[in-house]
Point group: C2
Chain length 373, copies 2
Amino acid sequence: MIGRTSKCESKNIFLHAHHSLTDNFKMTVEKNIHDKLGIITFDQILSMKTDSVIALAHPNIAFIKYWGNRDEALRLPANGSLSMNLGALSTTTSVEFRSDLKQDDLIIDNVNAPPAALQRVSSFLDILRERAQKQHLKAIVISENNFPMGAGIASSASAFAALAASASRALGLELDEGELSRLARRGSGSACRSIPAGFVEWQMGRADEDSYAHSIAPAEHWDLVDLIAIVNDTHKEVGSSAGHALAGSSPLQASRVADCPRRMQLCRQAILKKDFSTFAEIVELDSHLMHAVMMTSSPALLYWEPATIAILKKIRDARLQGLQACCTVDAGPNVHVLCLAQDANQVERLLQTIPDVATIYRSPAGGGVQVLA
Amino acid sequence: MIGRTSKCESKNIFLHAHHSLTDNFKMTVEKNIHDKLGIITFDQILSMKTDSVIALAHPNIAFIKYWGNRDEALRLPANGSLSMNLGALSTTTSVEFRSDLKQDDLIIDNVNAPPAALQRVSSFLDILRERAQKQHLKAIVISENNFPMGAGIASSASAFAALAASASRALGLELDEGELSRLARRGSGSACRSIPAGFVEWQMGRADEDSYAHSIAPAEHWDLVDLIAIVNDTHKEVGSSAGHALAGSSPLQASRVADCPRRMQLCRQAILKKDFSTFAEIVELDSHLMHAVMMTSSPALLYWEPATIAILKKIRDARLQGLQACCTVDAGPNVHVLCLAQDANQVERLLQTIPDVATIYRSPAGGGVQVLA
């Protein structure tokens, strides 16, 4: 379900967004609009008529992982996946299309984005501009995360979900949830899962038309908590976009993919029934399957750090002792420890005893993308 | 090639063995024979006429791993494997069959072996007794390793290779290398690879008759060194015998096995051509493939410890910088770092910089099993 806070009639979009936005984000927009257009204060911005739209989306944590594409350009995945939106973390993105700009501009967390990031966003916006027949417009995109990008929490899912929602609305396109999810997928595969709310399934589909995500249960369905243990890492492996392209080089990817419908079914049912034991087993298996493929691709991708193993073993041992907690690891060394809300303090204390756990973020399930104004 | 130091005519076997044996082993034999038979000194033992035979075998490190059986009872492997004997490490085993004993006795490193180990050895000896038609004899088996058993270096390969050679000779069976290798396989799969010398291939075969190992190159062929980094580990996973039985529960085992002939071919050629770069890539891939299967079996086997990852990454990074070294990990957390003799000191210094590396053993390639006396 997409939050449908409507864009204000006057197009004075910041007015309606005023109460939803953090002061920090207002300052970011103010500074950057000033840099681009010479406007000085937020109040001056408020008095402008613009076509800007602001949207907010959460990152998501996959229980059944997406790894590898059967079509790289369209980001059609090798297998279906299942995830939960992380309500406590979010990306807020403002998009304004203008006819007086020579090229797109992209500011992320108050800094001009590097050329590669701008190129990726421009290519994504091209899809929308073509669809809206507004190829002459260029965009100012201002995006901000409420979590540090360098900390190793993937921000591309929430970023492209928020961008898909804000940019499509700014161009006057009226897309339903499925269309928005398909669109977000083109920017970053897992972004399609940040469009619907709560617990989300991305059906791999047969083609672009039917490869999108839908909610299988709202955020309130199950009081799962994700404790994200950020570990000190010294090595940087390749990013997940480049990594996806290597999946097929592993002798194990075909088996991981072939077994996926079974895991999807088990995981979906475990979520619907709130069966934590089954959930824990299948989530850890699926995470290990993805890292098995990663570490056996050419070149090998070894995302785990020593602290990753320490956490995996500590949580497994605690589960054998009766604690309801399990782990999943994305394309990085950080460990997402999943547990019920009632056990979250206990699990967090356990994680704090592990050396090299630098920070722990906590998030319950969250809603879908919202157009704020 | 089996060392064929012949058993002395007088059956006074310790006399000929005298110079080959360590003082420690002599004391072990003396003490244990005393405990069993009331004989007091080594000189008294030397004056006895016995049917004892002593054999020595080295453990081996697999470059292409053995994991999973297609026949558990016969230990017919799911796939072929390739290894190198570790000349610096050895197990020395004395076997004497007697008609005046009620049951087999097993002393390992000067301690009575636990019942499970004795049972495994007795079952193995039963195969030989039946073959020799000497079911009425029971054995005193005294075995000693020149490396600590608790350190995590698998001793079952050298143990069953030495036992196969000594026990078969003691029963008067004249087995050629292939027959001895087949026999050792029944005690511990990888033991069949400790029978031939140097660089060894275990052909999976079609049945018991043709599933044995042969040398593809003598120890002198290539001056490879194995630096075994023993890491401090607090967790104990299941032993490899139990682990083999779990291999089939991983969705990845079939793919690992199916791809094995390709890896065998690449690794065999790399050894024969002394092509370290190809060797390094295929050895690390094969190790990762085995651990991929382990960690995705039910229950999951996570043999790696934090230090394991630290070593894997340190060596990979060094190789990217030009150092010729690579890693392989058996069913435990220790890392076998393979390099050329000329680089061994440099690699050892690198390993010493890693916290939680407790001890480093060094071994060149070694010969096959030897009957010492």
